[in-house]
């Protein structure tokens, strides 16, 4: 899969911006790494919320992709933590989860999520486009 390409143009994307991916599911983590690393972004992966806080404390991310169901600190708690912090409150957070109940979407939005995406209902192409859009704005 190493020589696969997506309809993206890495040259236009600022390279030094940090994309922080918070995901505990291994296959997803591998895919994210493959997808975005190849795009030339600085990609950091955390497997839970508190690990994400540590990484963010070292370097403020330009965008966070956040799963909800995770051990230690779940996505909701992490949203709360980031959005109440002066340092991180402006970092856009896109929730990428397989939870899809109205109540969960509403909760995430109320906690400050920029977008809420149900993973299985979106194509990989669309995810990349969304990420690129936000990183371009950052």
């Amino acid at each position: 899969m190493s020589n696969m390409t997506l309809d993206t143009t890495p040259e236009e994307v600022p390279k030094r911006k940090l994309l922080l991916i918070v995901e505990d599911d291994k296959p997803y983590r591998q895919m994210f790494t493959e997808l975005f690393g190849k795009e030339g972004y600085e990609v950091e992966i955390a497997t839970n919320g508190s690990m994400a806080v540590e990484i963010a404390n070292r370097k403020v991310p330009a965008l966070i992709l956040l799963d909800i169901l995770m051990p230690v600190m779940d996505g909701f708690e992490m949203l709360k933590e980031f959005k109440s912090s002066e340092k991180f409150k402006d970092v856009p957070i896109i929730v990428l989860s397989n939870l899809s109940a109205d109540s969960e979407i509403k909760k995430a939005k109320e906690l400050g999520a920029t977008e809420y995406i149900v993973k299985s209902n979106i194509s990989v192409k669309e995810v990349v486009e969304i990420v690129k859009k936000y990183l371009a704005q950052a």
């Binding site: 020589n3 696969m4 997803y28 397989n98």
Partner: protein, 515 residues
């Protein structure tokens, strides 16, 4: 009584002794009167000694079924009685006792079972009085046939005992309350589940006994006011299916008649079923979520593979991969439908109403489905009017319309047709979706919107379907305050210009319009 007795004696003197006592004018006139009375009386009147009849009036002959006086006179009364009286005592013994008591000067009045000459029985009321004539002791007997009254009495007793038996042996609780809601009757074996004995609360006020059960009091008052109420009520740990009926007694007093049947076991079973159903729904929800992770991963991986340059090198592999990808999407959709169902069943359906451009939404969906319609070479005819002011949840309405349009394609025949009419009238948006696909047999009509239902005719088509689409569609349309119905088979003309109607199925969606 005494006077009668003496008069009767004078009558009998004349009758029995003829001219024996001579004649006085006054006496003769009196005698005539009493003879008339004696002969025309409706009661049997006769004279007897301790052991035989000595004279009788015509009614006696009639009552005892005798042709002449000779059939009676000289016979003992017990000859006109059955061997035993209804109380089980021997007639001869009993008759002797009564005759002797009367002869002792104590007038006797009693009920007696008599027999006629032919042996048939009748019920009688008998009066026995002592007379003394010329130093001889006689008894005057007046016998009244009371068979009809006895018959009525018997049937009343029988009916009451039947009623009593029914009430007392009733499993259900039966109660009657007066206008002040005091118990007049409380019977039924199930009283024991409340720790009560039959009749125990009679005289007590239901307002006191059920003061902690406002629902019971409310129903009792409603029934007193003339309204019939049926409800499931809970008293202590017991569930009852209870009726409260208004009633008026013969004097017009308001009463409440009620019946309550213990349905605790059924309620417990129902609750358990509900719990199991809830668990099932939760399981469905959890399992679906769990499925989403690997399915989503698979989807992205397949998409990445399909985008890779390798596809040119191995077209067969690429085609197979594309098939797998399509299958993956189908399972993703199925999981989404299952999650929709579990959400609907858990009552967690939330709607976010916004103003919708339905005609644009229809075009958008048709655009998405265009490839599939083209594959079947379907003609799509649209008569779409502009519709405004429809407020509903966009995602839900989109999914509902998608299901209906997708079905119209999926179950259609090759080179068939779909006609879509959208119009707005009388505060409603009406969308008709006709298709020339399989019709739904009438015996399956009632199940079309049930979950997991698929019409036999649809199954035979070898078309994939979960049986969830229309269930979800109906839930979403109804959540928006609308309705969905169908007609199948139905004849329609694909376009106004067409003169030949075709057969198919019509789904009609109605949504409210806010002016």
């Amino acid at each position: 009584m005494k006077k009668n007795t003496s008069n009767a004696s004078s009558v009998s003197v004349d009758l029995t002794s003829g001219d024996k006592f001579g004649s006085i004018v006054e006496l003769k006139s009196s005698e005539k009167k009493y003879r008339k009375l004696f002969e025309t009386a409706n009661d049997a009147i006769f004279m007897m000694t301790a052991d035989k009849f000595v004279d009788c009036n015509p009614q006696t002959l009639k009552m005892f079924g005798c042709a002449t006086k000779a059939d009676i006179i000289g016979h003992h009364p017990s000859e006109f009685s059955p061997e035993f009286q209804p109380d089980g005592k021997r007639s001869t013994t009993q008759a002797r006792r009564l005759i002797n008591a009367a002869l002792d000067g104590k007038s006797q009045h009693f009920y007696w079972k008599h027999t006629k000459l032919d042996g048939s029985l009748f019920d009688a009321e008998v009066s026995l009085n002592k007379l003394v004539l010329e130093g001889e002791e006689y008894l005057q007997a007046i016998v009244r046939d009371v068979s009809p009254q006895k018959e009525v009495e018997r049937s009343l007793v029988e009916s009451e005992s039947k009623f009593k038996a029914v009430v007392e042996n009733s499993q259900s609780i039966i109660f009657l309350l007066d206008e002040n809601l005091h118990f007049m009757l409380s019977e039924g074996k199930e009283l024991s589940v409340l720790g009560l004995k039959p009749g125990e609360v009679v005289g007590q006020s239901a307002l006191d006994i059920y003061k902690d059960y406002p629902v019971v009091l409310k129903h009792l008052k409603s029934a007193l006011g003339g309204t019939f109420v049926r409800d499931n009520i809970q008293i202590q740990d017991v569930y009852f299916d209870a009726f409260f009926s208004p009633w008026k007694d013969k004097d017009g007093n308001a009463r409440v008649i009620g019946m309550a049947h213990d349905i605790t076991q059924q309620e417990i079973a129902k609750k358990r079923l509900q719990e199991i159903d809830k668990l099932k729904t939760q399981f469905l929800s959890t399992a679906s979520h769990q499925l989403r992770s690997p399915l989503g991963t698979m989807r992205w991986k397949l998409e990445m593979l399909l985008e890779s340059k390798e596809k040119e090198n191995c077209p067969e592999l690429y085609a197979s991969m594309k098939d797998v990808y399509e299958l993956n999407l189908r399972v993703v959709n199925l999981v989404n439908s299952l999650l929709d169902v579990s959400r609907i069943e858990q009552g967690e359906l939330q709607t976010h109403a916004e103003e919708l451009d339905i005609s644009a939404l229809i075009e958008e969906i048709l655009e998405e489905l265009a490839e599939r319609a083209k594959a079947k070479d379907l003609a799509i005819v649209k008569n779409i009017a502009e519709c405004k002011h429809v407020f509903a949840d966009k995602n839900q309405i989109r999914e509902a319309l998608q299901n209906v349009f997708s079905n119209a394609i999926k179950y259609n025949k090759k080179q068939g047709c779909i006609r879509i009419d959208l119009a707005q009238n009388n505060g409603s948006l009406i969308l008709h979706v006709y298709n020339t696909g399989v019709t739904i047999p009438e015996n399956e009509h009632h199940r079309v919107f049930e979950k997991f239902f698929r019409a036999e005719s649809a199954k035979n088509l070898d078309v994939e379907g979960s049986g969830l689409g229309l269930f979800v569609t109906k839930s979403y349309i109804e959540a928006a305050g609308g309705s969905i119905t169908f007609a199948s088979p139905i004849e329609f003309t694909p376009t106004i210009e067409d003169s030949h109607p075709v057969e198919g199925t019509l789904f009609t969606i109605s949504l409210p319009v806010k002016e």
